[in-house]
Symmetry: D2
Amino acid sequence: MKVVLGYSGGLDTSIIVPWLRENYDAEVVCMAADVGQREDLSRLHDKAARSGASELVVEDVRAEFVERFAWPTLRAGAVYSRRYLLGTSIARPLIAKRQVEVARRIGADALAHGCTGKGNDQVRFELTFAALAPDLRVIAPWREWDIRSREDVLAYASERGITLDVDPTRLYSRDENLWHISHEGGPLEDPACEPEESMFKWTVAPEAAPDEAESVDVAFERGTPVALGGTRMDGVALVEKLNALGSRHGVGRADVIEDRVVGMKSRGVYETPAGTILYAALRELESLTLDRRSIALKDELAPRYADLVYEGRWWTPEREALEALVGELLRDATGVVRMKLYKGSAWAVSRESERSLYREDLATFGESASYDHADALGFIKLFGLPMRAAAARDTREGDRVVAELLREVDRTATR
Amino acid sequence: MKVVLGYSGGLDTSIIVPWLRENYDAEVVCMAADVGQREDLSRLHDKAARSGASELVVEDVRAEFVERFAWPTLRAGAVYSRRYLLGTSIARPLIAKRQVEVARRIGADALAHGCTGKGNDQVRFELTFAALAPDLRVIAPWREWDIRSREDVLAYASERGITLDVDPTRLYSRDENLWHISHEGGPLEDPACEPEESMFKWTVAPEAAPDEAESVDVAFERGTPVALGGTRMDGVALVEKLNALGSRHGVGRADVIEDRVVGMKSRGVYETPAGTILYAALRELESLTLDRRSIALKDELAPRYADLVYEGRWWTPEREALEALVGELLRDATGVVRMKLYKGSAWAVSRESERSLYREDLATFGESASYDHADALGFIKLFGLPMRAAAARDTREGDRVVAELLREVDRTATR
Amino acid sequence: MKVVLGYSGGLDTSIIVPWLRENYDAEVVCMAADVGQREDLSRLHDKAARSGASELVVEDVRAEFVERFAWPTLRAGAVYSRRYLLGTSIARPLIAKRQVEVARRIGADALAHGCTGKGNDQVRFELTFAALAPDLRVIAPWREWDIRSREDVLAYASERGITLDVDPTRLYSRDENLWHISHEGGPLEDPACEPEESMFKWTVAPEAAPDEAESVDVAFERGTPVALGGTRMDGVALVEKLNALGSRHGVGRADVIEDRVVGMKSRGVYETPAGTILYAALRELESLTLDRRSIALKDELAPRYADLVYEGRWWTPEREALEALVGELLRDATGVVRMKLYKGSAWAVSRESERSLYREDLATFGESASYDHADALGFIKLFGLPMRAAAARDTREGDRVVAELLREVDRTATR
Amino acid sequence: MKVVLGYSGGLDTSIIVPWLRENYDAEVVCMAADVGQREDLSRLHDKAARSGASELVVEDVRAEFVERFAWPTLRAGAVYSRRYLLGTSIARPLIAKRQVEVARRIGADALAHGCTGKGNDQVRFELTFAALAPDLRVIAPWREWDIRSREDVLAYASERGITLDVDPTRLYSRDENLWHISHEGGPLEDPACEPEESMFKWTVAPEAAPDEAESVDVAFERGTPVALGGTRMDGVALVEKLNALGSRHGVGRADVIEDRVVGMKSRGVYETPAGTILYAALRELESLTLDRRSIALKDELAPRYADLVYEGRWWTPEREALEALVGELLRDATGVVRMKLYKGSAWAVSRESERSLYREDLATFGESASYDHADALGFIKLFGLPMRAAAARDTREGDRVVAELLREVDRTATR
C-alpha cells in the first residue's frame, strides 16, 4: 500500500509516518505545501527521511493560493463568525487537492492527514478527498490510534528512536500561511482571558505601533487587488508587502469565539493584516461603484460563501455558482482606495473610480439641475401606499377620510 | 387651518412658520423634541414666537428614544450600508409620532416638516404620518416653494424682518441626538476628500487620544445594556457615559458612502461612540451565548431590519415581527464583556456569561472525556455524503469503486 | 436499568423489547402515542406484554399534535423539499417529548427508539432527547445490533417464541398520523417508477373522484384555522373533516425526491389532504391581508422553518424565535377563503376579510379619486435613479445628455 | 421631433398617435412586437396609418422572447406573488429594448408608451429606457393628458375622425404572448368573486377537460427545455406545442392577488399552460440532480429574481449575476421528466437522468453495502452537539451528568 501524507514536519505528522508503516504496512510519501508559511521547507527533506518516509514532495502553491483561493474569498466578502477571514480554511482544499495530484502521479492507494478528530481541518481535507478522489482510501490516524496527548506522541517517537524538535514552552496551536497566522489553545481556552502580547507573531501591539499614521493606495480591477501605492504587482508580492505594512501598524488582529463544523464553540485569535486592509478597501470601492441592490445581494450571500469555505465544501457547484455571481457583481469595482493605518486600525479616507455611481449633482443639498424635489412627492406617496392602506383599514371611517384627503393632496400636487 | 410643525430653530424651520401662515393661512404650532442634542432648547420659545408661531411645545423624548428605538435597533444588530448605526433614522419615527400626538391633542388639521425633497428624512416623517395619522394633511414646504438656496432663505427671512442666527462659515449639514452626530455636505461631497479634523464635534482624533488604553465592562441582560463598570444605570445615563468614554478615545467615527431611499448615493460621516462600543460588545456576548444557527438567523435579518429603519418603515408589522424574533434569540444574551478603547478602536478582551455555550472540555485539543474523536468519522461521512455521491457520478466506474471503498472503510470503522 | 421505548407494535419495536432485556438487562416500559393513526391502540397492551414489556403507556396527543405542532408549521408556511408538508417530522418531537415525560415519571435511566440508522427519525428522536433529557442514556438498537433485514427480525422473534403479525405482501414503509400518511421503499425506490394506485391509503385517485367539484369555506383567525363551512370546531375535528373531504376528491398527494438529514436522496409519497387545502387557503388569505414585504419575509423564512422541523431541531431558540415572528406577521390573517376541490386539485375561488388590504379604488384601471397618475412619474424617476445613474456612467457624454434631459423632463413635469 | 411609440393597435395607442402629433408636434413611428400574441399583426399597418403614424415597424421577437427571457426566468424558478409566472413582465423589457433599437435606427428623439399611471408596465418600459437610452426623452400620455375613461378615448377619436374597433362588451384588460394570457379588471376587481368561465381564452375548464389523463415527456439540457415526447424542437415550437397540450387539459390557470410595483394590491388571472408544466418538470429534475444546498440556494434567490423581473429591473448587473449563478447551479439538470396532465393538474410521475444524484443503494431501508448504520451515531452526536451543550447549561448539574453520560456512550461506541 502506498500512502500520500500531508506533512508539516511537526510532532504529529512525524510519528504518523512510522505509524502508517507499522499499522498499514504502507510506503509513505510525504507532501509539504509551501503556502507562504515563514519557515525553511528545505529542512523537511531530512526530517521526513528520518521519520521513514520514502520521499518528500514539496509543492510551491503560493501563487495559486492567492489567486484562486484568497482572491475569490475576498471578492465574495466572506467572513466567518463575523470576524474570521478564513486564512486556514482556504488553504486546506488547495493542499488536499495537491495531495490528490501527487497520489495520482505516483499511483498511491490512500491519503492521510494529521488533523485531530475535534477540529475543522479533518473535515476540509476529507471533503476535498471525497470530491476529487472518492476512490482513494482515507486514513486519519488521530481518529484511529490510542495516542491522546503530546506526551504520548513523544513517547511513541522516542520508542522508535525518532528525534523531534520539541519546544517545551509552546503553548499554542498555530497555523501560518501567506494570508494569516492563527493561534488556538492554551490560555486562549478561557474566553475571559485576554491574549498575552507574546502570543502574537506578525503584528506589533497597537500600543507599540508608530505614532505617525501611514497611508497606502490600494487599486482594484473588477474587484481584484492589482496595485499598491500605484505599483502593479502580482498577488503574492501584494499580500507580502501589505502584510508588512499592516503588521507594522498593528492592523489585522481578531479574537473570535467561533462555532466549529463539528459542533462546539472554540476560540481563535488571528492575525491577517493584508486581508483586513483589503476587505475594508474593497467594501469602500463597492459602496462607490455598485448599486444598492447589488451590494445587498453580495452581503446576503457572503455568509453563505463563508460557511462553504469554513466547512470545507470548496469543491461544490454551490461555491462555483457564487463565484460566478460575484464575478458579475464586481465588474465595475475598479478604482483606488486610500487606506490609513494607525495603531491597530485601518480605515478609508478617499476613494476614486471611473466607474463611480456617486454623482455630486444628485447628492448635494445645494441647488442642482438634475433633481426635481417635486418627484419625491410621488415617490413617497407610492412607496408609502401599503402603509397608508393598512392605516386606513385600521382607522375608524378611515376609508372616507383618506379618500378625501388623497383627493385634496392630489389637487394640490397638480396645481 | 392648524398645523403642527416639527421645529428645530434652524434656518429652514424658522421661515417655514411665516410661509405656512402666508400660503395656508394657518395657525402654526411648533414642536421641538429633546432627543439629547447638545443645545439649550429653552431658547427656542422666543425664537419660535418671533417667527410667528402661536406656541412651541417641547417634548423630552430621551428615555423613550434610548429604550424603544436605540435598544431594539442595537439588539437587532442593524447597520445600514455596512457602517451606519442609524442614529438619525431612529429619531425620526419617534419625533414624528410625537408630532402626531401633539396634533391630536390640539386638534390640528395638518403636519409639516422642514426636510428637503432630496433626503431620507422626508420619507421617514411622512411614513410615520401615513401610519399613525393617515387622515391628517401633510405639508412639505421644500417640495412646494421656490426657495432653492440658503441665500433665498435669508432673503425670505429678511423681507419679513425675521433675524436668523447665521453662521456664515457653516459648511456641513448636521444632525445630533443622544446616539450620534452626523455630518453631510460641503467638502464631504467629494468622496475622494478626507474629512478635515475640525469637522468632528464629539470625538477626538485617534492621534489625539490618550496613549494609555482604557477598559470598560459592559453588562447586558437578555441583549439589553444595563450596566457599565459594574454600575447599573438607566439607558440615557449609560449612553451618555459611554459616549464620553468613547469620544475621549476617538472611538465611533464612520465615513460612509450610502444609498439614500430616494435613489442617489450620498456620503455621511457619523460619530457614534457609545453605539459602536455597544454593537461590538453585544456581538461578542452573542458569540458566547447563542448557538451558531441563531447567530446566522440574526445576521441574516439584521440588514432587513436596517433597511426598515433607514427607509422610515418603523411602524410596520414587519419591524414588529423582527423585534419579536430578536427578543427570543437574545434570551440568553446575559453577561459581561470587557471592551478596550484605544486610539480610535474598541475591541473585546474578555467575555463572561452564566449562559455561555462555550465548553472548554469540548473545545480543547488536549485530552477530554466529553468528546470521542471517532464520532467525527461518522459525521464527516454523512456530512460529505452528497459530495461523495456527486463525485461518484462524475468518476468513470465511480459507482463500483466507491461501493467497494465504502465497504472497506466500514469494515475498518467497525473493527 | 429502566428503559422507556417508543413503541408502535410493529416488527421492529416488538423484538427490541426482548433485545433490550437481553443486552441491557433492562426493564422495558413501552410508550405508544396516539397521534391519530387509524389503528386500534388498545390492542397493543397484550402485544407489548407478550414481547416482555413490563408496561405499556398509551398517550393521546392528538390535540397537542394539531394545536402545537401542525398549526405552527402551517402558519410558518413550512414546506420541505418544495412539496413535503412535514407530517412525520412534526410528530417526532412530540412523541419523544412524551417519552421523556414518561421516563421522568417512572424514574427511567434510558430512552430507546426503533428507528434505523439511515433515516431521519433517529435524528429527530435523539435531538429531542438531547434537548429535554441530556442526562438520560439513549439506546438505538438498529445502530448496535447485527440484525440487517426483515428475515433477521423474524428469525430473532421466532427464536424467542414471539408471534408477529406479518403481512408478507407488505411492500412499503409507512407512517400515519392525523396530518398525513407517508409511503417509502419498495417500488418507489426507482424514481422513474410511477406509484401504483393500490399504494395510496387515504385519497382516491383523481380519476376516481366525483365528477362534480365541491367547495368548502375555510375560516382563519390570526392565521389559525377555526371553522369549516361556517362551523367552528376544534383542531382535531377540523383536520379530520377536511381530510375526509379532500380524500374524496383525490386532493393532497405529493411524490417527492427529498434529501435526508443524513445526506442521501430518497423518495417519499405523501397524502396530506387537509394540510394541502389549509396551506393553499392560508396563502390566499395572506395575499389579501398582509403587505408585500411581510409576505416576502414570511416566504424567506419558511424554508428555514421547514429545515428546522425536518432536521429534528424543534426544541431550539431558533424555532421559537421564528414562531414569535410568524405570530406578529399573521395578526391580520383573519377571514374566509372558499376552496374548490376537484379531481386531485384544490384552489381558491373567493377570499374575504375585514382585515383586507386590497382596495378596489386603488386597483381599478377605471377612474378613481384615490390615485393620481402623475404620482407615478416621481416614483419611477426615483425608483429608476440608480439605473439611470449607471446608464449615464456607461454612455459617452452621458452626463451632459442626461442632465439636460432631466432638466427638460422636470420642466414638463412642473408645468 | 421624432417619437417611437410602442403600438398595439388598441384604443389607447390609436389615439396616442394623434395626441403626440398635436401636443408635441411630433412625427410618430409606431413599433409593434410579435411576441406570439394570437392576432394578425399585418392588419396593423393600415390602422397605424389611419391614426396618423408615419410608419409602422413590426418586429418578430418570438424566438428571442423564449430563449432570452422565458428560459432564464424559468431556469431561475422565478415566481412572483407565489403563483404568477411573469408572462407580461418578461415581455416588456424586450419590447422596450426593440423600441430603443428602432429609435436609434431612425434617429428618434423620444420614446412613448401607452401604459396607464397605475400599473406595472409603465415602470418596466421606462426602466428599460433609462438603462438603454438615458438620453432619449420619454413620453407617457396617460400621465399627462386629461383623458380618464374609455368614453373619453372614444370621444377623442371620433372628434378626429378615427374609427376604432370597439367591443362594447369587453370587460377585461388582457395581455397575451407566447408564454401566457392575463386577465385583469371588470368583475375580477372583487377578490371574493370567482372568475366566470367565459373569461378564459386559452384553457378549457378542468371540468371540460378529457376524462383520460395524458402524459408528456419533457427533456432538459442543463436546465433548458429541449424536447417534448422525445422530439427535439426549438423554443417557440416547444412552448406552442406544450401550450396546446396543457390548454386541452385545463392546466395553467392561476388566480392571484398580487402587489403592484406602485404599491397597491391588485388581482390578476393568468393562463400559462406550458410555463406551468415546465416549472413543475424542471423542479422535479432539480430534485434528482442537484444537491440539497444547491436547491436551497436556488430557492432562496428565486423570489429575488422574480422581484427584479416584475419590477422591470431586467437590465441590471443584479439580474445578470443571478443568471450566471443559475447557469452554474443547473449544469447537471439534464434529463427527462414525464408529466401527467389531467383535469387542471400537471404532476410528475417519472424522472430520469444520467446526472442523477439519487442512489438506490444509499436510500434503501433494505440491506446495502454502501452505508454503515453506525456512522449515524457520530453524525447525530456532532449534529446535536450545540443542542446538548445548551441543554446541559440549562439543566441543574447538567455538566456533570452530561460529561458522565458522554463518557459512557463513548465507551459503548468504541466497543
